[in-house]
């Protein structure tokens, strides 16, 4: 990114409430180009932050701009990977069907999926190592494979910024490595990722930037500067147990 060009995601004064309970308090944060993690305890509003940025939950106040513009103007440049648990995996669809859904904005609203879009979806599946399982019903995939289908669907959007909600949640070690490899390839190609992440130990290894969140912004910046044990402890409000803190220190020093 050349200096001065607008950040992939810029959030200003975002406040969101469910019913009468505020979840996010006046969050202002700018995600630079590269890989950024949103980290915080359960209920910190991590998912809410990206869902509100995408307009999926209404915000009380504040705004999100993508590449310096409102979302509606740059939608094709923004990809989304929702939480795996947010859909019914018993749904009658194959892995390829699901990935093809990423190509719907490029298609007419009626008729079949054109061959070119189908090929693009297959290529995305191949990129996450699932080319052989394209025709399998999604309910018969393992949890890690389902997560990779979601990743393939996000990749098939061919966006410049990907908002990912817990991409590493409940996946096996092999899938985690496959996802990390994809993230690094995206970063190397100049794309950006903002991911909700729950594993403190891997933040320094996987991400360049971090937002520590607990309803409000606790700390933000390059991992080396912002991801300090003190900031993590503040984000977790003292609920962090000894073991997790140890792994944070070890990771930051590595």
């Amino acid at each position: 990114m050349s200096p001065g060009s607008p950040a992939p995601l810029e959030i200003r004064g975002l406040t969101v409430a469910y019913g009468e309970r505020p979840v996010l308090w006046d969050v202002t944060w700018s995600a630079p180009t590269g890989l950024a993690a949103i980290v915080g305890p359960n209920g910190a509003g991590k998912s809410t932050l990206i869902r509100a940025a995408l307009g999926l939950v209404p915000a009380l106040s504040g705004s999100a701009r993508f590449f310096g513009r409102p979302l509606a103007e740059v939608r094709p440049r923004v990809g989304y990977l929702p939480q795996r648990a947010s859909v019914d995996w018993d749904f009658p669809a194959t892995a390829l069907d699901v990935v093809c859904m990423a190509r719907y904005p490029r298609m007419r609203w009626w008729g079949r999926v054109p061959r070119a879009e189908r090929e693009a979806a297959l290529a995305a599946l191949a990129e996450v190592g699932l080319a052989d399982l394209a025709g399998r019903q999604i309910g018969r995939l393992s949890g890690g494979q389902q997560q990779r289908v979601f990743l393939a669907r996000a990749l098939a959007q061919e966006a410049d910024l990907y908002l990912m909600d817990e991409p590493f949640a409940a996946v096996d070690a092999a899938t985690e490595q496959a996802i990390v490899a994809v993230l690094r390839r995206l970063a190397a190609a100049g794309r950006s990722v903002v991911a909700v992440h729950h594993d403190l130990a891997t933040v320094p290894a996987y991400f360049d930037h971090v937002l520590l969140l607990n309803g409000r912004v606790i700390a933000a910046g390059p991992v080396r500067e912002a991801f300090t044990p003190e900031a993590v402890a503040a984000a977790y409000g003292g609920r962090l147990n000894v073991l997790e803190q140890a792994s944070v220190v070890a990771g930051a020093g590595a």
Binding site: L54, L56, R75, Y80, F91, P92, D97, M101, G111
Partner: protein, 430 residues
């Protein structure tokens, strides 16, 4: 039964209606809108009665279908709006809102109906038929109207296939892509209303929901592919519609709605029992096979370990016979169960059986070695993780060793390697 022209027309119309209801119903089911269809049906009654009343008042033929369908559609749509408005107040959940709207509109319809029937002009409209349905009473022009609405709904549903699928599977993702799921949902509701209204006269407003739900639920049991699901659901719906119309022609006193729903319920029950993968019988068969397979593996492993404990091994000079009672004791099984298994394994040529003793055949020894390997690999893995003590690892391994995925087995049991030693003493269970 005479297959007159009118009967054939009604039959074809009801089949077309079923085709449309099956297709639209599949999406209604996937989007969790089945109960909304019920609300639409019941809410249509006051609309039908008012439409007949208005038509008669202005000197029209109260039996003419288009005004009745329009009234039904308006009232049905109003019912849906009422449900959504009630649910949006946050004071009441959607299921209760549906129940309230459905019964309130229906009650209003019944009250209106009892009043209208005292008026001579509207009395011949046969409005009662709309409640339970009577396909045989339909005239050819009625069938044409209902069929046209159904065909339109079917065509729209197929055109909207991709949009509906996206909104049903992952509405948030669709919205993040800039697709309007609100508009897609509205289209689906309109389709539900259209099919419901088209089926009012033939199937009746009380039971029309079944024509949307039963074919779709049946098809859901039979396939995992959406296009195939739509096709199966449509065909099942067409069969139910035609069967109902035929029953109505044979026995004019039988409400068509009842016949349609009974045909659909029979299809669903058959699929529930006999579906190749999701059927209850197939499921019970698989579970029984798994239980038997686990018991076989446990028996063979006990026979192997009995030899190991005696310092011998299958195929060695010390190869010996083991009393079945000892195996039963090692497994903690009643002797009768061990006996039944021994006889079953003898039938499969995995053990030789003689005088209450068993002996592993070469085939049995190979199977037993696999079972021992799997068990011990899981045991050592659990112990290595510190997840259990030896007794706990033994018990847990008994539960999970039979269902190892190929990937897990490859990681736990790298071949070729020696048989690991048992982490605990072999013999009788504590």
């Amino acid at each position: 039964m005479t297959l007159g022209h009118n009967t054939l027309v009604v039959l074809a119309g009801c089949a077309l209606l079923g085709l449309a209801a099956g297709t639209v119903g599949a999406f209604a089911l996937l989007r969790g809108r089945a109960l909304v269809a019920d609300a639409v049906g019941h809410a249509a009654l006051p609309g039908v009665v008012l439409a007949a009343l208005l038509t008669a008042t202005f000197g029209g033929d109260p039996r003419s279908l288009p005004p009745l369908l329009a009234g039904a559609a308006l009232a049905g749509a109003l019912g849906v709006v009422a449900v959504q408005a009630l649910a949006r107040t946050g004071r009441i959940r959607e299921d209760a809102a549906i129940a309230i709207v459905l019964s309130a509109f229906y009650a209003a319809g019944v009250a209106l109906l009892s009043y209208v029937q005292t008026l001579p002009a509207a009395a011949q409209a046969g409005l009662n038929k709309f409640i339970l349905g009577q396909a045989a009473a339909m005239r050819a022009e009625d069938v044409a109207w209902a069929g046209a609405v159904a065909a339109l709904a079917l065509a729209l549903c197929l055109l909207l296939f991709q949009r509906l699928r996206a909104a049903c599977f992952d509405p948030d993702f669709a919205r993040a892509q800039g697709m309007s799921t609100a508009r897609t949902d509205l289209a689906l509701l309109a389709l539900i209303v259209a099919v419901t209204v088209a089926g009012l006269q033939a199937v009746g407003l009380i039971l029309i929901v079944a024509l949307l739900v039963l074919p779709a639920a049946t098809a859901r049991l039979l396939t995992f592919r959406l296009p195939r699901l739509l096709l199966l659901s449509a065909l099942t719906g067409a069969f139910c519609g035609a069967a109902g119309a035929a029953a109505s022609a044979v026995a004019p006193d039988l409400p068509t709605g009842a016949a349609v729903v009974l045909a659909g319920a029979a299809c669903f029950a058959l699929a529930l029992l006999f579906a190749p993968e999701r059927g209850l019988i197939a499921g019970a068969w698989r579970a029984a096979r798994r239980r038997l397979g686990a018991a076989e593996a446990h028996f063979l492993r006990a026979a192997w370990e009995a030899q190991e404990a005696a310092g011998a091994g299958p195929g060695t000079a010390g190869d010996r016979w083991t009393p079945i009672a000892a195996l039963a004791a090692a497994r903690g099984w009643p002797p009768s169960r061990a006996w039944r298994l021994a006889r079953w394994l003898a039938l499969r040529d995995l053990v030789a059986l003689s005088e209450r003793q068993v002996h592993l055949t070469p085939k049995g020894a190979a199977a037993a070695r696999r079972a021992v390997r799997a068990h011990r690999a899981v045991e050592h893995h659990l112990l290595g993780l510190g997840a259990a003590d030896t007794a706990g690892a033994d018990r847990l391994a008994d539960l999970v060793e039979h269902g190892l995925t190929p990937e897990a087995a490859a990681r736990l049991l790298p071949e070729p390697s020696a048989l690991p030693a048992s982490p605990h003493a072999l013999g009788e269970r504590p």
